[in-house]
Amino acid sequence: MNILISAAALLILILLVIVGIEAAGLEYFFGVFIPYMAVVIFLSGIIFKLIGWARSPVPFRIPTIAGQQKSLGWIKSSKLDSPATILGVVGRMVLEVLLFRSLFRNTKYETKPGQKLVYGSAKFLWIAALIFHWSFLIIILRHLRYISEPIPSLVPLLQNLDGFFQVGVPELFITNILIVVSLAFLFMRRTADPKNRYLSLTADYFPLLLILAIAITGIMMRYFTKVDIAGIKTFAMGLVSFKPVVPESINVIFYIHLFLVSSLLVYFSFSKLLHMVGVFLSPTRNLSNNNRSVRHVNPWDKPVRIHTYEEYEDEFRDKMKAAGLPLEKE
């Protein structure tokens, strides 16, 4: 059911563009208005969320650790998995963001026939996530060639590496295959296993399908239906230099691609995709484990009125003495 809703939502988005372009001729709306609006919503949505996070108090130290805490000098401590210094935290965060070490520790559990519950390592989620995210990043960076003039030298470098095998003309990009395969795996992971299917929501399927559709429309334009690359660059440069020109003779697939990317940008800050910025603010990862060496005073605590035993005894000395209770001071 959740899959159907996601697929239906995606289909509606695609149909909207086809009807809008082919029947209503809304090239300006889909080519200029929607992309600008999407960028504005993307930026303001993320900034809005970040401001909300900035106004929230940081919790008490709650790092989840996977190694020996720093204590006595002769006990070997784990500098990355139980970081006590800022440097350790930075190292931990860099590895988390770039290599997804948390996912590397992912485990699965299953009951095989005739066996008890068995726990085992499950690296496929980690490897597929890694491949997907890196491919997506490289693909996005490659798209800089459409929105910059002159093109930064990073782009040809990436293109050379990505088209390393020089298959066909235009060269086959390795990331194009990898992103589709990894997305297909991530989708299958949710659907093939009943436990995961039970846990998966529309909000899990929709971004997967949306990004898959974006990748597929892009691949279609590059290898199959073909588009006028120079014309699209002129159009994209018009957008980034705030002198938008509506392209003629551009295939409807390009508009679908553009509209789905715009949808992704709009959807971004209201969904799980916000983990792109949220990962930096994970308190279980970005806090150092120095609870025992540094005293953390809760700054928003109200001062507590303390009534010590000495004060208590001073207050009730007479009565306590009358009752025959032992006193510390006579």
């Binding site: 993320i46 970040l50 066909g168 003309v169 120079a230 660059k233 002129t234 440069m237 980034v240 230099s241």
Partner: protein, 130 residues
Amino acid sequence: MYDSGKILAGIIIFILLITFPFWLNSIQGEYKGEPELVIDRSNGAQCVKSTDYMRNSHMTLLNEWRDEVVRNDNRFYTISSGERIEMSLSNTCMSCHANKEEFCDRCHDYSGVKPYCWDCHIEQKKLETN
């Protein structure tokens, strides 16, 4: 404790990264629109395919030609007017689209495309001058 200072710095870095293409182009200001391509029409030869097709798919055509010539030893191609032409980039196409710098390269540089045709093939003109 609040991390608002760090988050504010993060917001600024994020905005700069995302709006990078917008301000980069306004700083550089070198963008002059789509490049103009130079074609020598003096010999009155016919086009192999329509401009629209060529703008989108010339690389596919060249790839098919290469396969035909190299693998099937078929060196001729019939265009829509019925004329038979030689399947050759440097001899056929480049008799009108003569100047690599002013035709091929302009558009390829503009679109950030580096075709590896020229890894092996050489421009006729260069061959003659050398």
